[in-house]
């Protein structure tokens, strides 16, 4: 039957090459592959991924005969998740997930493997058929997910894509995250030289375009036998020339696996090979493994064992763009395939198999050409595909539509451009030796004629073309296919009454006074927000703070859009609370966790989980971490959080828990002992020391009541004073000394006055001020003195020096919002409130000084004056008396 083909191939070989023998043997092998696949009693159905022709022929085949079993080249253990596919909107991806695995290096974990399904694929059509016809067994025969990792090359690094752009083009393209993609019907050549040669000689840019132009268009309208022969022939060509040796090696392992599984299933269920269909990539149909074919009993009986990895399976939403990105297809490939599929189904008057609907009656389908055309394959090799007049109509429609779309997107486009695009597309097609412009030619023409030097709005012409030719489509996973955790979330959020499957933003308004039952929803939303961030659920109004239950809340809910993220949580646990607890535990006990992180987790557990046991365990861990810390970098954070927790617990009936008391006691001792070193250490900032001192002085009463000793801090402060302290920390040191009664206001005043008087030290004055300003956080009573210092700075420092400081000073004050109110209050008290008050006004500190001076002038009052006058009047006597006293 293939004699003519062989002859034709031989002639081609001698015409095109000097070494006709080598080429001839290759072509003979290809012809033999076709012959073998055609002779096999088991119906081998060669497919290409996202090939509308494959899907169309699948539909036709399944409408004419009802097989007992369908075998598909997909990971066998993914079969279990198909049960609930009915409720999903395609495209979705079957996913396998593992958090731990001995096969995978720790830094790559967790891993997930995705197998996307689109409606216009033969495998989906077969799946849909089998789910509607339970009497037909659906078996996935490809290697289990575990082998994907077992058989992959050791150095399978992402380097292969390093030369290409690796940015994710859009949010939707990142739907699969960092998953590893697998697909059935992969025919893509991996040998660069081959691809380069193929594309160069066909005037195409990508393999997908080549496939569309030279294979797809020819076979979509052909009869099944031609389809099968052409697919096997092309598959054989790619297998023999286009794949790298390693890929072929893995392909062989998979083929052995698949044939083994097929034969096992056939014999176990007593199915004759004629009653089954085997769907595999075209390259696998030209396999050369010993197990190939039902005529032999050879099977792979010593399959390697699987690893101990625990694989979890589920369905996640996918999108056309995510698929294109995952498998490095040029943008728009899947959309174009989908559009072609719909056009061809309409033209052939066929109805696809879809899930979730009752099987539709076959429309008056055109009779399938049952007579096999023996010359079909030869014709395919020699003739250009015919194009229909509908194609011209379609091109005209595209030209008009793209101009309209471009105009809406800010381009200056008119009817003249439509004409130019049409003309350019035709010229391009002729230049590329095509009878009629393909969609790729059209896109090129549209870009040439419409794209100018800039993109006026968000989308450029290439993107608009893709949107027009089908656009992206994003799938949704139905409720039944969700993991228990996600189902639980959907159930618990149901009272809110928002559409959780919608892909748009949903706004939820909750008034707890009117609808107290919504509080549970709010709790859940807060937990989700903690785990997944603002992208999935975002509070617009309402806060989560200790001891402040909100009355009303408003949320932006985007669970439908980010369904994948919610489903991913399902792999970590059965309920959201369990996942939350695990995550918190991981966070607090991470190797690099600090006391601040552990304390934050303790607070978070109080806010989101309401589990005293958990809070206590995190709190105790925080205490433990704090006692081991050698620096004070997180002191301000710890101080604020500890203070907040103490305030909160004091309002509860139970009072302070033991762990918090312990934390304060440990913190007091810890920071007191760190202080002398921190004061002199240039790596510790003034703000951090302020945090330490804040912890010590603010929580002092509590710490002392728990058995800490004040002596410790006194000794530490005295020790710190023995070393030279940098100017920005001096203020803190002095205020600490003042609080402990080791320093007077006068001494600070004097020291600062001498700084201001000395032009050499004047430049350091802002640093000195900084220390005092920071000290307000823990010693508000020093505010009077700070106001005084600042006033005297403004009064005494010359403007030329002062004005450059001002911006810095303002910024410094702005950074500490909490200290401004006491400062302003104090200033208001000290300064006159009205302008007229200024004439007699004298600052309080100057009054103090005047009084002191007066006191010094007349010590002891009038009585003493008289005595002094008397003594002065008799100096001789006085001197003698003095001499007597001294001796």
């Amino acid at each position: 039957m293939f004699e003519q083909l062989r002859q034709q191939l031989d002639e081609a070989a001698s015409a095109f090459t000097e070494d006709a023998a080598a080429l001839g043997s290759l072509l003979t092998t290809m012809a033999a592959d076709v012959q073998r696949a055609m002779d096999e009693p088991l119906e081998i159905f060669p497919v290409a991924h996202h090939s509308p022709a494959s899907a169309l022929h699948m539909v036709r085949l399944l409408q004419t005969r009802q097989p007992k079993a369908i075998y598909i080249e997909l990971c066998e253990d993914m079969r279990e998740v198909l049960v609930n596919l009915n409720h999903c909107k395609l495209p979705v991806a079957l996913q396998a997930f593992a958090a731990k695995s001995p096969l995978i290096p720790v830094e790559e974990l967790p891993v997930s493997v995705v197998a996307p399904l689109t409606e216009s694929s033969a495998e989906y059509q077969a799946i849909a058929y089998c789910l509607q016809h339970p009497e037909t067994a659906l078996v996935f025969v490809d290697r289990a997910v575990d082998y994907v990792f077992q058989w992959r090359e050791a150095d399978l690094a992402p380097d292969a894509t390093s030369e290409e752009e690796t940015d994710i083009p859009s949010e939707d393209a990142g739907l699969h995250g960092k998953a590893i993609g697998i697909q059935s019907g992969g025919v893509e050549p991996t040998f660069d030289e081959f691809v380069h040669f193929l594309l160069k000689n066909s005037n195409t840019r990508h393999f997908a375009e080549w496939w569309d132009q030279y294979v797809e268009r020819t076979i979509i309208g052909a009869d099944f036998a031609t389809y099968k022969q052409v697919m096997v022939l092309v598959g054989s060509l790619i297998r023999h020339l286009g794949r790298l040796p390693h890929d072929t090696e893995v392909d062989r392992l998979r083929e052995r696996y698949m044939w083994t599984r097929i034969k096992q299933h056939l014999s176990a269920n007593q199915i004759a090979p004629q009653d089954a269909i085997y769907i595999c990539g075209a390259a696998h149909a030209a396999s050369d493994v010993a197990e190939f074919g039902t005529h032999t009993d050879a099977i792979w009986d010593d399959l390697p064992p699987t690893s101990e990895t625990e694989w979890l399976f589920g369905v996640i939403p996918s999108s056309f763009m995510a698929i294109e990105y995952q498998f490095s297809h040029p943008a728009g490939t899947v959309s174009i395939a989908e559009a072609t599929w719909q056009k061809s189904m309409k033209a052939a008057n066929l109805a696809p198999f879809t899930l979730g609907k009752t099987p539709s009656k076959r429309k008056n389908a055109l009779p399938v050409n049952a007579v096999t055309n023996n010359h079909a394959l030869s014709d395919f090799l020699t003739q250009a595909p015919a194009f229909a007049s509908a194609d011209v109509e379609q091109l005209l429609g595209w030209c008009a539509n793209i101009v309209a779309l471009a105009r809406r997107n800010g381009y200056l486009a008119s009817t003249a451009d439509s004409i130019a695009i049409y003309e350019t597309a035709i010229l391009l097609a002729h230049l590329r030796n095509r009878a009629h412009p393909s969609s790729y030619d059209f896109i090129d023409a549209a870009i040439t004629c419409l794209e100018k030097d800039r993109t006026p709005k968000r989308r450029n012409i290439a993107q608009l073309c893709r949107a027009m030719l089908g656009g992206d489509r994003i799938g949704t996973v139905g409720y039944e296919s969700l993991p228990p955790l996600a189902q639980n979330i959907y159930d618990r959020l149901a009272p809110m009454g928002v559409d959780l499957f919608a892909r748009t933003n949903q706004r939820a308004l909750m008034d707890f006074t009117k609808a107290p039952h919504l509080r549970d929803c709010s709790e859940l939303l807060w937990r989700l927000n903690y785990l997944l961030g603002d992208a999935v659920v975002q509070p617009i109004m309402g806060e989560r703070q200790l001891g402040q239950p909100s009355i009303q809340e408003s949320w932006e809910v985007r669970i439908g859009k980010h369904q994948g993220a919610v489903i991913q949580l399902g792999y970590e646990g059965i309920t959201l609370e369990q996942v939350l607890e695990q995550r918190m535990h991981q966070r607090a006990h991470a190797p690099d966790a600090t006391a601040a992180v552990a304390l934050y987790t303790a607070e978070a557990s109080l806010l989101y989980l309401d589990s005293p046991r958990l809070t206590r365990s995190f709190g105790e861990h925080a205490t433990h971490l704090l006692s081991q810390e050698t620096g004070a970098s997180s002191a301000p954070d710890i101080f604020n959080r500890a203070r907040r927790l103490i305030h909160y617990y004091r309002t509860t009936p139970a009072g302070l828990p033991d762990w918090l008391k312990q934390f304060v006691a440990v913190g007091y001792t810890h920071y007191a002992s760190l202080l002398p070193q921190a004061m002199t250490d240039p790596g510790t900032s003034a703000a951090e020391i302020a945090g330490m001192l804040g912890f010590i002085f603010t929580l002092e009463t509590l710490a002392l009541s728990l058995g800490c000793s004040r002596e410790q801090i006194i000794i530490s402060v005295q020790q710190a004073a023995q070393e030279p302290i940098p100017p920005d920390k001096i203020g803190l040191q002095w205020v600490a000394e003042w609080l402990l009664g080791l320093r007077t206001v006068e001494s600070m005043r004097g020291a600062l006055a001498s700084v201001m008087d000395n032009p050499l030290s004047l430049t350091a004055l802002p640093d000195y001020l900084n220390g005092f300003i920071l000290s307000l956080t823990f010693a508000p009573q020093v505010a009077t003195f700070v106001v005084e210092v600042m006033s005297s700075v403004f009064a005494n420092v010359p403007d030329a020096t002062l004005i450059p400081w001002l911006p810095g000073l303002v910024l410094q004050l702005r950074a500490h919002k909490a200290i401004l109110p006491p400062l302003i209050k104090e200033a208001a008290k000290l300064f006159p409130a009205t302008l007229s008050g200024f004439s007699q006004w004298q600052p309080a500190w100057l009054q103090d000084e005047a009084e002191t001076a007066a006191d010094e002038a007349i010590p002891g009052g009038e009585e003493l004056q008289t005595i002094r006058a008397l003594l002065d009047s008799a100096p001789e006597t006085l001197n003698r008396l003095a001499a007597l006293v001294v001796t």
């Binding site: 030369e163 160069k200 005037n203 840019r205 200056l412 008119s414 003249a416 451009d417 130019a420 003309e423 350019t424 010229l427 391009l428 002729h430 230049l431 590329r432 030796n433 090129d444 023409a445 870009i447 040439t448 004629c449 794209e451 100018k452 030097d453 800039r454």
Partner: protein, 367 residues
């Protein structure tokens, strides 16, 4: 003129190939084109079967779009970064389509409308008044009259009002000469079109008016980042330049890889830099690499050991790329002592030599 001129235009240089292609040109030809569009394509991106070398390296679809545009009613505007081969592509297109690539107007800030349309021989006008004999046609007008490709280099360097002189040429396809009493209109012959180039770095200086924009199809020429393609371009252009200078020094492939790798690293560093001061002023285009290699080769020929060494290459690279002092020298110094130093630690001796050459050159800059 072929052997005596410094640089022969494409149609002279590749006269043999063009003649061969013209003989083979069977397909339908638009207007008065010398070659069919397929043959123009073969001429530019090469055709092994016909023995035609590749002359312009880049995406074939870019060339196809350019050819198709020229066959249509619209002008072609090649737009891209400096050194991406816009002018070279324009020259090849003009040479292949009309056999003459010299009808060129160079756009500058001082270009006037006269240079686009026509001017007068003042002496003749004074002697005999305005007549067709005293009229000096511009290259564009000459191209119109011959039905050939007119080229307009750096279109966006011209002031907008001068650019707009092209509008009527491109839509009505004639130039009115009201000064003459007879022959008041110079009509374009079939086959006339305009190939303009514009630098995308000049964007915003003299923007094209909307009216002119819609008379041009814009074809963007991207910077080549594919190493293999870049390798081909650098080899091709350097050999051409060396042949012109009659230099016979070989370029070892390892050194070429070294140069390409350094440029690729530099581009990466440039993309990661946060401000213009942390970036080299150079666009780091392929043309720049050719410049570096040519400089190094000339140096090796006349002052060196007749052999290209990594040391000389590094010297030329630093010398060519550092233009602003001190910004560029700071950038290159940092680059040299991080990226190049890292590579010289790991890789072969060539990198060490390269490293040393660069260091010496940078030291020289500081004095």
């Amino acid at each position: 003129m072929s052997q005596t001129v410094l640089r022969a235009p494409a149609e002279v240089k590749y006269a043999d190939e063009l003649a061969r292609l013209a003989d083979q040109s069977k397909g339908q030809k638009p207007h008065s084109w010398r070659l069919s569009p397929q043959m123009v394509r073969s001429f530019i991106i090469g055709d092994k079967k016909l023995g035609i070398d590749q002359k312009w390296f880049g995406d074939a679809s870019t060339v196809e779009r350019a050819i198709v545009t020229l066959a249509s009613d619209r002008g072609l505007l090649l737009i891209g970064d400096p050194g991406t081969g816009k002018s070279w592509l324009a020259e090849l297109l003009a040479a292949a389509i009309s056999g003459n690539s010299t009808y060129v107007v160079q756009g500058t800030a001082g270009t006037t409308e006269d240079q686009i349309k026509y001017s007068w021989n003042i002496a003749m006008v004074i002697a005999a008044g305005q007549s067709p004999q005293s009229l000096i046609p511009s290259p564009i007008m000459t191209a119109m009259q011959h039905g050939a490709m007119g080229r307009f280099e750096e279109l966006t360097r011209c002031p907008s009002d001068v650019q707009d002189a092209l509008i009527s040429i491109m839509s009505e396809k004639y130039i009115a000469i009201p000064e003459l009493k007879t022959e008041t209109t110079a009509f374009a012959m079939p086959g006339f079109n305009i190939i303009a180039t514009a630098n995308s770095r000049d964007r915003g200086v003299n923007d094209l008016s909307s009216a002119l924009k819609r008379r041009f199809n814009f074809v963007h020429i991207p910077v080549v980042t594919n190493k293999k393609q870049e390798h081909e371009i650098v080899m091709f252009r350097t050999q051409e330049l060396l042949a012109r200078q009659q230099i016979t020094v070989e370029v070892p492939p390892a050194l070429l890889d070294l140069l390409l790798q350094t440029f690729s690293d530099l581009r990466e560093a440039s993309a990661a830099a946060s401000s213009d001061d942390a970036r080299l002023e150079s666009a780091l285009s392929t043309a720049e690499q050719i410049g570096v290699l040519e400089d190094a080769l000339l140096h090796a020929t006349y002052f060196g050991e007749q052999k290209l060494s990594p040391y000389t290459l590094a010297n030329s690279l630093v010398g060519t790329l550092v233009r602003r002092l001190p910004e560029d020298s700071t950038v290159i110094n940092k680059f040299w002592h991080t990226v190049v130093a890292e590579r010289s630690k790991k890789d072969a001796a060539a990198w060490k030599d390269f490293m040393a050459g660069g260091q010496d050159a940078i030291k020289g800059l500081k004095h």
